[in-house]
Symmetry: C2
Subunit: 281 residues, 2 copies
């Protein structure tokens, strides 16, 4: 029986990788990691090895999402076990190199955390593709930090400073945990991904509508059945036909047109977390 003050013992975390530039045109992560590579004082914590690292340097150089293929879908078991030859797509080779340096995936030697640049809303995504083939998936306890929306290739000070604060809080947490602090049981609101919505398209696959002005810039705002979601080029409104309230996010993301995704549909849940403390204190 679990009491309401149950506390779980977990091993300490000693090695933290901070990944930036998995997508080369997402400027907060790129800029922060480059800053910390030049001067790591801000992210050092006692008893921790912290390694800031640019995962896709060629995409960063070109300020594009990727060079050959999406690095954040490249860490599949298949890719990681391919022979290392020059002919492989650039990002597949990088995935192999990163897995060797920070993994290997699933091994006890792997980095404990890899933090890859989310709003402070917790997005719970158990889709296998995102669970198992992102760059952060090489770590034992991967956390993705996504702060936005921020246009591709643009650095906004509000987004940059929010991401910086989140990463620093994460490191503070690990330091306190390693130092023996006990964290009380708590509840946390999460947004569980339940699907995604494509743009309306014609027979040739061309989009025929845009995100409706009421939905634009309304990430995490409740969307109710019958609320407008799209506006067609000929001026009609298309409403949400779902059966219950959902919470859309990643609304009108430039990078997701190619993934045929106008927005991600999430549902709000409250999860209970056990209390935790480090096991070897």
């Amino acid at each position: 029986m679990i009491s309401c003050h149950s506390v779980v013992n977990l091993p300490e975390a000693r090695k933290v990788a901070i990944f930036g530039g998995t997508h080369g045109n997402e400027m907060s992560g790129v800029t922060l990691v480059n800053l910390w590579i030049n001067n790591g004082a801000e992210v050092q914590r006692s008893g921790l090895t912290v390694k800031p690292y640019i995962t896709n340097p060629r995409a960063v150089e070109k300020c594009t999402r990727y060079v050959d293929t999406d690095l954040n879908r490249a860490f599949t078991t298949d890719n990681l076990s391919l022979p290392r030859i020059e002919d492989l797509p650039y990002e597949v080779r990088r995935a192999q190199e990163i897995n060797e340096t920070f993994g290997p995936k699933g091994s006890s030697n792997a980095y404990d955390q890899s933090i890859a640049p989310a709003s402070c809303s917790v997005l719970l995504n158990e889709h296998p593709l995102l669970h198992y083939s992102t760059s952060r998936s090489v770590g034992k306890h991967p956390i993705g930090v996504e702060v936005g929306p921020q246009p591709q290739g643009v650095l906004r000070s509000d987004i940059f400073e929010a991401m910086r604060a989140v990463v620093n809080h994460g490191l503070d947490f690990i330091e306190l945990f390693n130092g023996g602090m006990e964290f009380e049981p708590c509840t946390v609101d999460v947004y569980r991904v339940s699907g995604n919505m494509d743009y309306p398209r014609d027979k040739k696959g061309n989009i025929t509508a845009m995100i409706h002005p009421n939905l634009q810039d309304s990430d995490w705002v409740p969307l109710n059945p019958g609320d407008p979601v799209f506006q067609t080029f000929d001026g009609r409104t298309i409403n949400y036909e779902g059966e219950s309230t959902v919470y859309p996010t990643f609304i009108n993301e430039a990078a997701y047109y190619e993934k045929q995704q106008a927005f991600v549909i999430t549902r709000k849940e409250t999860l209970k977390a056990n209390g935790i403390r480090a096991s070897n204190i």
Copy 2:
């Protein structure tokens, strides 16, 4: 002596080109022009030949600003007089083709208007590069329509509908003018480009600061001496050191990092316009 009701006679305009996709990731122009290529009814006007046209189809296909070089700087006399060989950068070849179809530049045969997708503020830019080497420069009376800010690769319904309205108003104006309507003298507020401001950089050329939160999203808002403009990565504020009030625009544009431009500095002026009517009515 010019009276306050002076009216100037000007020739009618008969051929209008609507250019979209000069930068392949600017989605309003791309989408509108493709829409009008499929169905031109919305942009037809009596007595006018209107031709919607994608100027940089390869960049549109890849959803990038350009393939080899900026098409909007490619229409130089030098480029247009180069022999047409396969080895030329893609955009230089396109500039030659477009000049042949819609120009040639400076000839009486050239299209009267080429409208290339500015806010409704009038930006007066007499910089030779923009004056003479943009794609719209092939027309006799080029007008650039820029509506934003809108992230690269993203189509926002508010921006899209504003651009659509501006282009339709422009066509209505030409139709009325051709039909003999006399337009009264008026005054118009313009923002004359007086320079541009680069990001603060270190000796290696890397930027060391971001647009200050007070300036971000404040296009066309007066910037006074002493107002904050940048925030450095180590938290210092850099203030505007100019001597008089200016009006910044194109603030923190993704495409302008490579042009070393954090924002464009303009000054507000009021210009007087003569009345006009068509000469051969």
